[in-house]
Subunit: 201 residues, 2 copies
DNA sequence: CCTACCGATCGGTAGG
DNA sequence: CCTACCGATCGGTAGG
C-alpha cells in the first residue's frame, strides 16, 4: 500500500500505474464492483485524484483494455518473430497468450465482458484493438489450413480457439497438477488434426 | 412491464419470476451493475419487495445459478435420452448447451464469473451444481475415447470444450451468417479426430 | 494531485 | 407485498 505525495502530473508513469491497478481490479472484481477509490488506494492516491488523469471510470476501462491488448500484441509478435513453421508458431501464440492470461498482471483479454459498461464508440475502439490482436492468429491458422494440418481456417475456428484459451481463466489453478505448458499443448492438440509429436512426451 | 398487485406470497411463481428476471439481468448487465430495483421493476414489484422472497441480492444470484444449472441439466438429460452412439450424444449435448446459452432466457452457465460476488459456501453449492451438469459430458467423452474417436478424455478436454462453447456468447450474433447448428457442428468437428460426415453439407 | 464536498443511488429494513 | 425510509457508498467536481 504505497502512500506518497508528488507534484502535479510531473511523474509520467502515474498514469500507467493507475492503468495497471485498474486492469487488475477490473479483472478480479469486475468493473462495476471496483470503485475509483479502490483504484486510487492501490496506487496511493486520494479518492478524487484518478480523475486528474482520466475523465471517468469508463475512460480508465477503455484505456486499460486498449493499451493492455496492444501490449499483449507486442508480446505475441516478439515471441513469434522468426518462427517460420506455422504449427510451431501457433504453439508459441497459444503459450504466450496463456501466459498473458494466467500468469500476467494485466490480463486484458478477460475484460471483454466488461465492455458492456461502455458506449458504442469506446466499444468500437476496443473491437479494433482486438482485431489487431487477432491478425497473427488468423495468419497462422490460414497457413496451417493451406498445409492441410487444419480442416478449416474459417473465422469460427479462431473464435472457438480463443474460447478454449480464455475460458481457462475460470477454472485453471496455478497450484494444480496441470502446468500452463501442458494446457497450451492440450489446446493445440485439440486444434490440429494429427496429434503433434509433443502431445504426451 | 407488468404492474399488478397481489396478496402476500400466495402466488407461488412470483419467486420463479424473480429468479428468471434476475438471471437475465445478471447476464446482461452483470451482478454488480444490476440493482434489486431493476429486478423488482422487471416483475412489477416495488423496490423493497424482492427481499420478501430472498434475504439478499446474493441469495438471488445463488438461487438463479443453481436452479438455472439444474434446469439446463434436465434439458440435457431429456435431449440425450435413448441416444446410444456417443458421437451423436456429444453432438446433442453441444447443440442443447448452445441453445441454453444463445437462445434461452436463462443462460445460467454464463454467470460463472459473477460468483466472485458470493462467499465460499455459496460458491461451493454452485460448484456442486456445475459438477452435476458436467456428468453426462464426461461420460460421453469417456466413451468416445474408449472408441478411439478422441485422443484423450482427460478433464482439460472437457474444460476446453466448455470454453469453446461458453465463450461463443461473447461473439455469436444470431443475425449473422452462422447458425447455431453450424456453430455446434464446428465445435464438434474440432473436438473429434476425423471430421464427421455433416461438416459442410 | 489533495481537500472537502455534493447529489444520486443502492441494498436492505420496519411496520403494516 | 407495499410504504416510507435510513445509512452507506459512490462517481465526480471545485478550487487550490
Amino acid at each position: 500500500m504505497p502512500r506518497r505525495k508528488s507534484e502535479p502530473g510531473l511523474e509520467p508513469n502515474r498514469r500507467a500505474e493507475l492503468l495497471r491497478a485498474a486492469a487488475k481490479l477490473f479483472v478480479d472484481k469486475g468493473f462495476a464492483a471496483t470503485t475509483t477509490r479502490d483504484i486510487a488506494e492501490a496506487v496511493g492516491m486520494r479518492s478524487g485524484s484518478p480523475f486528474y488523469h482520466f475523465r471517468s471510470k469508463q475512460e480508465l476501462l477503455k484505456a486499460a483494455m486498449i493499451e493492455g491488448l496492444d501490449a499483449g500484441r507486442e508480446r505475441l509478435l516478439a515471441a513469434i518473430d522468426g518462427v517460420a513453421d506455422p504449427e510451431q508458431r501457433l504453439r508459441v501464440l497459444v503459450r504466450t497468450h496463456l501466459g498473458t492470461l494466467l500468469e500476467g498482471d494485466c490480463r486484458s483479454p478477460l475484460l471483454v465482458s466488461e465492455t458492456r459498461a461502455l458506449d458504442d464508440k469506446a466499444r468500437g475502439e476496443i473491437a479494433a484493438a482486438f482485431d489487431r490482436y487477432q491478425v497473427p492468429w488468423q495468419q497462422a491458422l490460414d497457413e496451417l489450413a493451406a498445409a492441410g494440418k487444419l480442416a478449416s481456417a474459417a473465422p469460427p475456428v479462431r473464435l472457438l480457439l480463443f474460447g478454449m484459451l480464455n475460458w481457462s481463466s475460470h477454472w485453471y489453478r496455478p497450484d494444480g497438477t496441470l502446468s500452463v505448458d501442458e494446457l497450451a499443448e492440450a489446446a493445440v492438440a485439440l486444434l490440429l488434426r494429427q496429434p503433434p509429436q509433443g502431445t504426451k512426451r
